[in-house]
């Protein structure tokens, strides 16, 4: 192996940047056959795994299933949607301007750069709006009207009192029983919302599209994610952030194992517990990804393969031949130039 052909761009050889020209022998290598064999093996492997393990398909949570399984929890979340203190209500861009849930890096807050693109007003979109569509419910419409016409302070007084009380609520005989208190129309509104959700009507009402066909589930999904019920289901399926989160799948399936490095950072104490964890993790991953892509240009990093010497395992046969040749220079050289396909090409 040598590179003794002078080149126009002769420059100092750097072992981690440059490769030497191959002047050794060439062996028959049937790429098409290799590909066909690989394809058949992959098909057999995939078919076997599919037959043995199948694939998960856990039923999605709906507002109906949530409110049926946990009516009190649903009512509690509804109250926070009504006064805008829920996770979505205080999220910030791209849903509203009420918070910075996505976090920021010092003065840099990329989440705000493009503003609100999927506007969600939790009180109107999740509660008051859907209830206004209910036909033949004068009491509900009256409660909605009373709430809308009240001052912001009055609304806050009602909802704060209700949120404290609903923790001790019970759901009996199809009705939400909340300890008595001064909640204004809030109790009637939340009860009506709970009944609407249990009927399944709220799921349809929250589809973002105003057309007949809809494919945007942003609003119902964020509403569902605001409740503890959804989080408890995820935790039971080992899907929480501190359980390596979304790289997992329901059941014992491998999930997106390739996201391990992304998920890893959420397990690191100071990062995972930070209010700015998301932007910190994304920033770290952007930097690491850039380093990986640009690795050939980075002195030091590009030397790691040479330092680790794992390449000797990959090319062990080649190095064995080289060493044999060095130990037996007068014998039959294992490295011989054959055929017409060994002409070095100048760079």
């Amino acid at each position: 192996m040598s590179a003794d052909v002078p080149t126009r761009t002769a420059r100092r050889f750097k072992v981690d940047r440059d490769a030497v020209a191959w002047k050794g022998r060439y062996e028959p290598y049937d790429l098409a056959k290799e590909f066909l064999i690989a394809f058949v093996v992959v098909c057999i492997l995939v078919g076997g795994l599919a037959v043995i393990f199948g694939s998960p398909d856990d039923t999605p949570v709906t507002l109906k299933s949530w409110s049926t399984a946990d009516a009190v929890g649903f009512a509690s979340t509804t109250a926070t949607e009504l006064d805008g203190t829920s996770g979505t209500g205080t999220y910030g861009p791209p849903y509203n301007l009420n918070g910075t849930t996505a976090g920021k890096l010092g003065p840099i807050n990329p989440a705000t750069w493009l503003g609100v693109h999927h506007p969600i007003d939790t009180a109107n979109d999740y509660v008051l709006g859907p209830l206004s569509t209910l036909p033949n419910q004068p009491a509900v419409q009256a409660a909605v009207g009373e709430y809308k016409s009240a001052t912001a302070d009055q609304q806050a007084t009602w909802t704060t009192a209700y949120e404290k009380a609903v923790a001790d609520a019970k759901f009996t005989n199809g009705k939400l029983i909340v300890p008595a208190g001064d909640y204004g129309p809030v109790a009637a509104i939340v009860a009506a919302e709970t009944a609407m959700a249990r009927s399944g009507a709220l799921d349809g009402a929250l589809l973002s599209s105003r057309q007949f066909y809809g494919t945007d589930y942003t609003k119902p999904l964020l509403f569902i994610a605001d409740g503890d019920y959804f989080a408890s289901l995820g935790a039971a399926q080992h899907l929480s952030g501190d359980q390596w989160g979304m790289m997992n799948e329901t059941g014992s399936y491998p999930g997106q194992a390739w996201l391990w490095l992304y998920t890893l950072w959420y397990q690191v104490g100071p990062i995972g517990s930070s209010d700015n964890a998301d932007i910190m993790v994304f920033s770290i991953m952007i930097i690491l990804t850039a380093l990986l892509a640009l690795l050939p240009f980075i002195p030091g990093l590009r030397s790691i393969p040479r330092w680790t010497r794992l390449y000797r395992l990959i090319w062990r046969q080649h190095y064995r031949e080289v060493e044999q040749e060095a130990g037996n220079p007068s014998g039959s050289p294992p490295l011989r130039t054959t055929g017409d396909a060994t002409v070095p090409v100048p760079a």
Binding site: D4, V15, S55, L114, D216, I224, W315
Partner: protein, 242 residues
């Protein structure tokens, strides 16, 4: 000149070859593109039947296995696309095809990661192969995105969970304004149209670059001068003309 063979009623190849190399047509864009393409990747280089002797490790199989698995991924995905997104939730056959799709993705990603690590430890960017390395990394990133949008398009609990968890990371970058992970319609279009198209194009470019530059040569052995007999180290690009 006989352009059509009277026996076969097809154009005579020899005549076509003659017609294709007329000097007066040399300035044609088409002629220039053809000439440049054939010069860069002649058939023997595009589909070589011999490889350097050092190409003798199982690690080389994972590049081919990745492409093979990609074909299974696309094939099973096409079947799912034919019957629509609801099919596999209600049909045992559909569920099996979905299982094939899922496991082909797992095999594809596994093969690709092994291929990536293998190329890393070979320092496969050496000798003017930096662009080959970069297209490989980019294709890995795009496939991660394609798999991710696939998980978001499942219409089950996993989709709900992953989308509501992932939105925070995406939103933190500002990209959530455009790339809404909770919008099923948008995610499935990315999954079955945009990202597969990107993957096929980038992987195609990557494979062509591998063929263009050849397989990277081993590091010089201990005591071996990279400059050969002259002892003068020389940086080279492509090692062989197939």
């Amino acid at each position: 000149m006989t352009i059509v063979d009277p026996k076969t009623e097809r154009p005579d190849q020899a005549d076509l070859d003659k017609a294709a190399d007329r000097p007066e047509d040399a300035d044609q864009w088409t002629a220039k593109i053809r000439t440049a393409a054939v010069d860069a990747l002649p058939p023997q280089k595009l589909l070589p039947d011999r490889q350097p002797a050092y190409v003798a490790s199982w690690i080389y199989v994972f590049g081919v296995a990745t492409v093979a698995a990609l074909i299974v991924v696309i094939g099973t995905g096409l079947v799912l696309a034919v019957f629509g997104p609801n099919w596999w939730h209600v049909s045992p056959t559909g569920l099996f095809v979905n299982s094939l799709h899922l496991w082909s993705v797992e095999v594809f990603m596994f093969s690709m990661v092994i291929h990536l690590w293998g190329k890393f430890f070979m320092a496969a960017w050496r000798g003017k192969r930096k662009a080959t390395w970069i297209t490989g990394v980019v294709s890995f990133l795009v496939t991660v995105g394609a798999a991710f949008t696939g998980y978001l398009s499942q219409q089950n609990f996993d989709s709900q969970w992953i989308s509501t968890q992932a939105k925070d990371g995406i939103n933190s970058t500002g990209a959530g304004a455009i790339f809404n992970v909770t919008n099923f319609g948008q995610m499935i279009m990315w999954h079955i149209v945009l990202l597969p198209l990107c993957i096929v194009v980038i992987v195609g470019i990557h494979v062509l670059m591998v063929r263009l530059r050849g397989v990277v040569t081993p590091f010089p052995a201990k005591g071996e001068s990279p400059g050969g007999d002259s002892g003068t180290p020389v940086a080279t690009g492509a090692e062989v003309r197939a």
